[in-house]
């Protein structure tokens, strides 16, 4: 990745919300790179800042009460410095987004085919007829059966899995270089989830896109990703190639998360290694490591001083911890 410019490079991104309770540091200094043709999972629990991070990259934030700092470079161009008009041209055409809830992201009073066609016509100068033809092809490519009939249906006539396929078709409509999928399968059942993840992976490979997959599910992150970045309290606390993260997690939070999940391979009634306490409040987080109060390895320094994110030499593995699992390496 060092020899070519990354598709997406986020540097020192901060997104703070001003609320009556104080400043919520939802994204607190996040930097990462994503090469084209790769999948990066952003893994975190609710409140970890993963969704705000995705929205912040897209510039989809409320108009007031928010401060954003840092840069978001897409193919070298800084999206964070672009005006709303310019950003609108980019969204959908260069970077597309798939949201968690397909029911609320689709317009309930327009037919499916028209909504996909509109997305195309928004960014490409094509006739209505051509847009219709392209949307039918797209809907077919995302696995919608009986396309001609389905294209004339309304969102409520489709199942959750089918609606998410429509969302993916819309996201792919203008051949984006990068897709941000924010919990794309959380509202779906396991069999539909499996179908959608398979579809996303296949389309990503076929179109050589970058995919940023935001999820809370370690299982979803483990399959079909190249790298995982773990977020906690608005920061990336560990990032590594997927296999390495599962084989040799350094950050105690990552380790604890992996151990707290019931595994299909464990016998029934296996005692789970629960993480005590709960995720921290992002208002006034204090100077130390945000995970320290719940961490089994924490020591005096952890409460005083936040550990920096350092890279293990010669690897793509970085973590933020004073007392990493298995010692320094």
């Amino acid at each position: 990745m060092t020899d070519q410019a990354p598709l997406l490079k986020v540097v020192g991104l901060k997104t703070f919300f001003h609320t009556p309770r104080g400043i919520v540091r939802a994204v607190d200094g996040v930097s990462f790179e994503l090469a084209g043709d790769r999948t990066l999972a952003i893994l975190g629990e609710s409140g970890s800042g993963k969704t705000v991070l995705a929205r912040s990259i897209m510039g989809l934030l409320p108009r007031s009460g928010v401060t954003r700092q840092g840069s978001v470079l897409y193919k070298g161009e800084n999206l964070a410095e672009m005006g709303e008009r310019e950003l609108r041209r980019r969204r959908g055409a260069d970077i597309a987004m798939v949201f968690q809830d397909p029911m609320t992201s689709l317009n309930p009073v327009h037919r499916i085919g028209r909504q996909v066609g509109e997305t195309i016509r928004l960014h490409r100068r094509v006739s209505r007829g051509e847009a219709r033809r392209r949307s039918v092809t797209l809907l077919r490519s995302v696995g919608i059966p009986d396309v001609e009939r389905r294209a004339r249906q309304y969102p409520h006539q489709l199942s959750g899995g089918m609606r998410q396929r429509v969302m993916i078709a819309m996201a792919l409509a203008c051949d984006p270089g990068l897709v941000l999928a924010d919990e794309p399968t959380t509202a779906l059942d396991v069999t539909a989830q499996d179908q959608i993840l398979t579809l996303l992976a296949a389309q990503r490979a076929r179109r050589s896109m970058g995919l940023l997959l935001v999820t809370h599910d370690l299982g979803v992150a483990a399959g079909r990703t190249d790298e995982i970045a773990v977020m906690y309290a608005g920061r990336i606390v560990e990032q590594a190639p997927t296999e390495r993260l599962f084989a040799a997690a350094k950050m105690p939070y990552t380790e604890a998360l992996m151990k707290s999940i019931p595994k299909l391979s464990d016998p029934p009634h296996t005692r789970l290694a629960a993480i005590p306490g709960r995720p921290p409040d992002l208002v006034d987080p204090g100077p130390g490591c945000a995970f320290a109060p719940r961490c089994r390895y924490s020591a005096a320094r952890c409460a005083r001083e936040a550990p920096p994110l350092r890279t293990i030499p010669g690897t793509r593995h970085r973590y933020a911890c004073w007392h990493p699992v298995g010692g320094e390496s």
């Binding site: 499996d194 398979t198 019931p262 299909l264 029934p268 005692r271």
Partner: protein, 328 residues
């Protein structure tokens, strides 16, 4: 039509025995939808029965019909030897209080205007159990059992607590009347993974401490395996398979169970199917017009002509192992 009762144990052994349960709902324009179509199951004392299935399979309707909320269209619910569906009024209420429910959304299932201490002691007030002192002592005991400090939390209201803590309060409220059976309907699916493990451990502890049996309804197969002794798999209002948890996960016999297990994203990158097809194609059929014969046949890789004409019954394929499939 029925999928049978071969999987039920002797009537005398079971704490709860539900037979031929049918739950219907009006679906508009004079139509009805059968959410649960003639399902039977039982729970032994001290046992946890896990019920898994995808949304719309009828698992929640089945759990709720067990406490007659609302009453089933037909079928019997025999709890501690008495058929709840034959009881009325005071007698029903008295018997039913020994079954308690825990719901998915812990915050909306607590009254936001009441203090947490009152929420948990009110069931005792309704049943006129003991004096204020005994009630306070019992409340202390259940709060302690769910890992909350009574003195610190009793005066506060639900919005002051996180989802995980609210679920602890819901469990305390369910335990306070000394139930024999807890019906847990997706009790951890609204919680973060790091909190989910706390609640699952807590349910196991409460079960041992208070001598409970559990019906544990969930869509997450890993969670269900962790808590269950026996697991029933549901599809479109019917049972596909009933088996001891260990066996079911080691060697799923019904094609639907197999597909469900294959579809679970495993937190192990080595297990990833690189460019594979999805575990199960197609869509859930409409429950308004379920397929003839076996309800899974429209998506089943093993389906034959017989599956369309003849509904498979649950039959024992190995000791303790029941499957409703012609080809298992």
């Amino acid at each position: 039509m029925t999928t049978g009762t071969a999987h039920l144990r002797a009537p005398g052994e079971a704490l709860l025995r539900v037979e031929h349960l049918v739950v219907t709902f009006p679906a508009g324009r004079g139509r009805t939808v059968q959410a649960v179509s003639d399902v039977s199951f039982d729970v032994l004392p001290g046992e946890t029965l896990g019920i898994v299935g995808e949304s719309g399979c009828g698992k929640s309707s089945m759990g709720r019909a067990t406490v007659l909320m609302p009453p089933p269209r037909s079928g019997s619910v025999i709890f501690e030897g008495r058929d709840l569906t034959a009881l009325h009024g005071e007698e029903l209420r008295r018997t039913r209080r020994r079954i308690q429910m825990i719901f998915q959304d812990p915050i909306s299932s607590l009254n936001p205007r009441r203090r947490v201490g009152d929420i948990v002691t009110e069931p005792m007030a309704i049943w006129n159990k003991g004096g204020p002192k005994e009630r306070a002592a019992r409340a202390r005991e259940v709060f302690e059992a769910v890992g909350l400090d009574y003195d610190a939390v009793a005066g506060r209201r639900p919005h002051e607590f996180s989802g995980g803590q609210c679920q602890r309060i819901s469990i305390a409220r369910a335990l306070v009347l000394d139930p024999k059976l807890l019906i847990c309907d997706e009790p951890v699916s609204a919680l973060d993974v790091s909190v989910q493990a706390q609640i699952l451990n807590l349910l196991e502890d409460a079960k041992a401490r208070f001598g409970l049996s559990l019906v544990f309804i969930a869509h997450d197969l890993g969670v269900v395996k962790n808590v269950s002794d026996r697991v029933a798999v549901m599809y479109l209002g019917r049972l596909c398979e009933v088996a001891p948890a260990e066996d079911l996960y080691r060697a799923p016999a019904h094609p639907y169970t197999r597909a469900l297990l294959d579809a679970v994203p495993v937190p192990d990158p080595a297990a990833r199917p690189a460019e594979s097809d999805p575990a199960l194609g197609g869509e859930f059929p409409s429950p308004l017009a379920p397929p003839s014969g076996c309800r899974f046949r429209t998506r089943c890789p093993l389906a034959t002509g017989r599956c369309a004409t003849e509904e498979p019954r649950l039959h024992e394929v190995r000791p303790g192992r029941h499957v409703a499939c012609h080809h298992a």
